[in-house]
Symmetry: C2
Subunit: 126 residues, 2 copies
Amino acid sequence: MTKKESVCMCGPRMERFLEPCLLILLHEKETYGYELIESLAELGFGDNPDPGMVYRNLRKLEKEKAVTSSWDTANSGPARRVYKLTPAGRQAIHQWSKHVQQKINRLQSFLKRYNQNFPEGSEGIV
Amino acid sequence: MTKKESVCMCGPRMERFLEPCLLILLHEKETYGYELIESLAELGFGDNPDPGMVYRNLRKLEKEKAVTSSWDTANSGPARRVYKLTPAGRQAIHQWSKHVQQKINRLQSFLKRYNQNFPEGSEGIV
DNA sequence: ACATCTATATGTTAAATACATATAAGGAGA
DNA sequence: TCTCCTTATATGTATTTAACATATAGATGT
């Protein structure tokens, strides 16, 4: 059996929301993991996204050539691995944005249905 | 180590979008798996959602007391397992709707950021 | 008898997430 | 110097979900 090939970098499952968030932050400026973790809160992640997830995602993005990395030892404190978006990563962002829009549509069609089922405070307040 | 208890039926991960869709369809009317599969397309699932997922989800919802089931042998064709929403299932829908709204917010804050990074056809058309 | 449709169900693999922990450099203060 | 805290990156592992394949079986039409 041949494995069904996926259409884009977003993969077959359209989850992994962390990935596009990292990409867009890296589009804004090249930076390193620890700072990305702090920036992620703005993009709707809780106070502290799992560092393990972030670092692993960054390495994966690098393996997929969406980013490149290099060590920054110029600053005080431990060395930082600084990531930089590649043109491929830039393209991936555009792909992701489409998928995110589709996902929003799906979620909204659920909410619409929900509001039809439970109109305006028909009971909703739990 | 004690396992961190999750806040609601939606669980820790906020995915499993199939689950709230099944619940809302069952709120509209009690019905059976095969028909639910057909109805799911309207709620943003592709042409044919994986039957395996649907049936397993239904059994899981039953185990969690969100639905009850009984056999319907009155109709022609193979027997149907008919599912009915419970009050607990009804409550779960409200929980889910909140989580879905939150998810939409997160996705939209990504899209907003995306549009700031790539304003109005700055290149976007891939 | 055979194929086909309806209907439910299970097995198996791959992937993502959550959570825990390891490692180490550098700075502040006793 | 020794300890503690912060910064910074990384790995280990268990659980969960999704994807895909396949099994089972009643009913119906030819």
